[in-house]
């Protein structure tokens, strides 16, 4: 059994009171609750404040390019189905630069967990609008506010049949920890969009703002009711639901691919000689011996 300090790593570089601290804490406690040792966990991230998380939590990690965490995680999981793979990414990382991978990861449905630190802003680059920024968010780069409608990642995930779709809130640590535990345990792509106040650059979506709006999904809410889930996933503004919005049993990437379903391909090294059998294909048989010529 691992304990908190096993996951101790570098000092963080986040701003005091940043929502990321609770997400980090929730992640650590969730991993402990899941009974995982640091060497058993594998995080994949892109670039951004959110994507720095792996540096603050001792474990295996692949901290790649801005926007490209999902394909890296998909490839890793395909090669190593034995490892729990968790993506920590930001709203810009995952829905902006990485939007195409988000779209197709939902279709492909690899068995990974995707935790999006959704602060509705580009934090690391100092406060430009992100795909989830509200129209009202005036920034130095968006003097009229962003010129696009805010993106609805959870609704999209439900629409494309993501098997586990949830919303967490950095202001509610125990609940968030719980969601992460469920997400990691779920087979297939588990999306957790975490409302994360950015105390430095997002002055609209603050702790106060959320406090007045977030509510846990009521007892008896049925996450398998797709139509209802699609409704709830779009609820935003006055009231913002927290919890597991949608669940679906669905085939996972690799189920139909023997090289994945057989387990880690790394455990089945091949020899060059194995391909000799294929060469016949390029020989072509003659139907007679030497002709007298």
């Amino acid at each position: 059994m691992s304990i908190l300090k096993d996951y101790q790593s570098q000092a963080t570089t986040w701003c005091p009171h940043c929502g990321n601290f609770n997400i980090l804490q929730a992640m650590k406690t969730a991993l402990i609750e899941l009974g995982l040792e640091p060497w058993q966990v594998c995080l994949v991230s892109g670039i951004g404040q959110a994507a720095k998380l792996p540096h603050y939590l001792k474990c295996n990690y692949f901290n790649g390019l801005h926007g490209r965490a999902l394909p890296a995680a998909t490839g890793l999981k395909a090669a190593r189905p034995d490892l729990p793979v968790i993506v920590t990414t930001g709203d810009g990382d995952c829905y902006g630069e990485g939007g195409n991978h988000f779209l197709h990861a939902l279709r492909r449905n690899p068995d990974i967990t995707v935790i999006v630190h959704d602060n509705q802003v580009y934090g690391l680059t100092k406060g430009q609008a992100s795909p989830t920024s509200p129209r009202e968010l005036v920034t130095r780069t968006q003097p009229h506010g962003p010129q696009s409608e805010p993106f609805a990642p959870l609704a999209l995930a439900v629409l494309l049949h993501a098997p586990f779709v949830a919303r967490g809130y950095a202001g509610d640590l125990p609940h968030l920890k719980d969601l992460i535990v469920q997400a990691v345990s779920h087979r297939g792509l588990a999306l957790v969009d975490v409302l994360q106040p950015c105390v430095t650059f997002n002055h609209l979506n603050t702790y106060e703002w959320y406090a007045e709006r977030v509510y846990p999904l009521e007892e008896g809410y049925d996450p398998t009711d797709r139509a209802a889930a699609l409704e709830r996933a779009q609820e935003w503004g006055e009231r913002i639901p927290l919890g597991v919005l949608y669940r679906e049993e669905r085939s996972v990437f690799g189920d139909d691919l023997p090289a994945i379903s057989r387990g880690p391909v790394t455990e089945r090294p091949r020899t060059p000689q194995q391909v000799e059998s294929l060469l016949a294909e390029f020989e072509f048989a003659a139907a007679h011996g030497v002709a007298p010529s």
Partner: protein, 572 residues
């Protein structure tokens, strides 16, 4: 060579030019002849004018040649496209009744014969029979191949095709026996393979133990993706078509981080989208092999034609400075060898390796010796248990003299494998201080020393102290060899230099060779003389002449001979 015939099958896209050409090549190859084939096709699925050209000989061939001896025209209207390269008196086979034949334009009613055999779709098979008759080649092997090819479509289809073949063969013998056939007899079996460039690369990927392949379709690389996809289950590797090239390379890097040997392939436009990932591989020290199949650019350019326009791009693609390996095979055999080597070297130096080829190499097929598997091993160069140790002491980027750090895989008890695209310390933790930065740049670049020791020398063939030195890289290899031979026949002292590895660059060896020659010609399928520029930068010696071709077509040996001769006249 006692036998050296040049046959072209031409017609519209969708008429089965490729299938018929391949069928004839397979039959003749099986019957002990040596083949060199190449194709020319348009970026469309139907119509236009495509061809599949077979050079047939009794000895190994390394290049195509001009001047056709026999044209099998599936689309008579398209014939005018073939005339310019026709020889003095080429035999032409076209569909139609015997009576309409005129001179060497021989008509075989293969459409009708096919109908009689039960299905109009057997027409090309009837044409194949006629072609073999014209070549003075027996029918048996063709019949056998038809059996093999159509077995799964049922005995009827097999029988029908065989009947059509026999009919075409018989018809030709009956009506055109007075014409002396072109001489392509059955020879003693050579037991060799008929292999294309992409097939060789794909086979080497399998032999090289690739465990994860992700790509996005793009000519001339789709063949690799397809071949691997077909063998994914049997050979036990993961093959996935990605949503785009960015995903393809990042999937590969994720898989490689996990320990799978990973590879991808793309053409210039897709490579553009991969270069950020290439730099990531350099920074994270993640091994990967990228096959870059060049075609005429910029942008979409000529999607199905050939060019060598991305040498400099391959050498410097990606932001920042990191070590890389660049190989450029010249023929199917070398394509197999270098792909295999690239996979081992990428793992050895934990850095990206590029395999630079082009459309011409991708599609050319040749009768080549079976690869020798005896010596081949897949060398992963992974960290030993001792090197990894316990208590989370393992450091992915430990500083070493070679610059290569022991590589552990995630999921190792008591160790975490931390990999970072930011500048990092030995543990892979993000850093910002100048000292660590410098140490890590030095560490990564130190790998070049070892890479240089493993470096392949340029291949020099021909006369010592030559009057003429022909320098090239990639798919011009066989063509330069034949051009050199032709020049030699006319009494010149000629040598050929082919450079299979372009980075690290064998500068010393190259300088020596360059200095030994009186007159040096660089022959390249591009407009700006990229290889020539590389030689200048790395050796300080600028080769005398550049023979550049950039119209999407490959060189022919005769063309090079002519160019070399005219250059010398100019200068004389």
């Amino acid at each position: 060579m006692a036998i050296d015939l040049n046959l072209r099958v031409s017609g519209q896209a969708g008429q089965g030019v490729d299938t018929l050409g391949t069928l004839l090549a397979e039959v003749l190859h099986a019957d002990g002849l040596h083949l060199f084939t190449h194709q020319d096709y348009m970026s469309r699925i139907r119509g236009g004018h495509n061809y599949y050209q077979l050079r047939i000989a009794d000895q190994p061939l390394t290049a195509a040649r001009e001047k056709l001896d026999l044209i099998v025209a599936l689309d008579e209207r398209g014939l005018q496209e073939d005339w310019p390269v026709a020889g003095p008196r080429p035999v032409v086979l076209v569909d139609g009744e015997f009576e309409q034949s005129e001179g060497l334009k021989l008509r075989v009613p293969w459409a009708r014969l096919a109908e009689e055999a039960g299905d109009a779709r057997y027409a090309n098979t009837a044409a194949a029979g006629a072609a073999l008759a014209q070549l003075g080649h027996p029918l048996e092997t063709l019949l056998a191949r038809l059996e093999a090819t159509f077995a799964r479509r049922g005995p009827e289809v097999v029988a029908g095709n065989q009947q059509a073949a026999r009919a075409g063969y018989a018809f030709h013998l009956e009506h055109f026996s007075r014409m002396l056939p072109l001489h392509a007899p059955v020879l003693p079996p050579h037991g060799q393979l008929l292999l294309s460039g992409v097939e060789a690369i794909a086979l080497a990927a399998l032999a090289g133990g690739v465990q994860f392949y992700s790509g996005y379709p793009m000519t001339p690389t789709t063949g690799i993706l397809t071949y691997l996809a077909q063998h994914a289950d049997g050979q036990d590797l993961v093959v996935e078509q990605a949503e785009d090239e960015i995903a393809a390379i990042n999937m590969c890097l994720g898989a490689a981080y996990g320990g799978a040997r990973a590879m991808t392939a793309t053409s210039g436009g897709g490579f553009c989208l991969m270069v950020e990932g290439l730099a990531l591989a350099g920074m994270t020290e993640t091994p990967i092999v990228i096959a870059l199949g060049q075609r005429p650019g910029p942008a979409t350019g000529l999607p199905t034609r050939t060019e060598q326009g991305e040498l400099w791009f391959a050498l410097h693609a990606g932001h920042g400075e990191f070590p890389r390996l660049v190989y450029a095979p010249g023929d199917p055999t070398e394509a197999f060898e270098l792909t295999f080597l690239a996979l081992n070297q990428a793992d050895k130096y934990q850095t990206p390796a590029l395999l630079l080829y082009d459309q011409y190499l991708a599609d050319m097929t040749a009768t080549v010796p079976r690869p020798d598997f005896s010596g081949l091993t897949v060398d992963r160069h992974l960290a030993t248990a001792e090197e990894i140790g316990g208590d989370y002491q393992y450091a992915r980027y430990a500083l070493t003299d070679s610059g290569v750090s022991p590589r552990a895989l995630p999921g190792t008890p008591g160790a975490v494998v931390e990999v970072d695209s930011d500048e990092h310390d030995v543990h892979g933790h993000i850093i910002e201080d100048a000292e660590t930065r410098k140490a890590m740049v030095d560490k990564r670049l130190r790998k070049s020393a070892g890479m240089r020791q493993d470096m392949l020398p340029p291949l020099l063939t021909g006369d010592a102290e030559p009057d003429l030195l022909l320098l090239g890289w990639g798919s011009t290899k066989g063509c330069l060899a034949e051009a050199a031979a032709l020049l030699r026949q006319s009494g010149e002292r000629v040598a050929q230099l082919h450079c299979p590895q372009l980075w690290p660059f064998p500068a010393e060896a190259m300088s020596a060779v360059l200095q030994s020659a009186r007159r040096t010609f660089v022959i390249e399928n591009n407009a700006t003389g990229q290889f020539r520029g590389l030689i200048s930068r790395e050796t300080g010696i600028c080769p005398d002449e550049l023979v550049a071709k950039y119209d999407g077509q490959p060189f022919a040996p005769q063309e090079i001979v002519a160019a070399v001769r005219s250059r010398r006249r100019e200068k004389a």
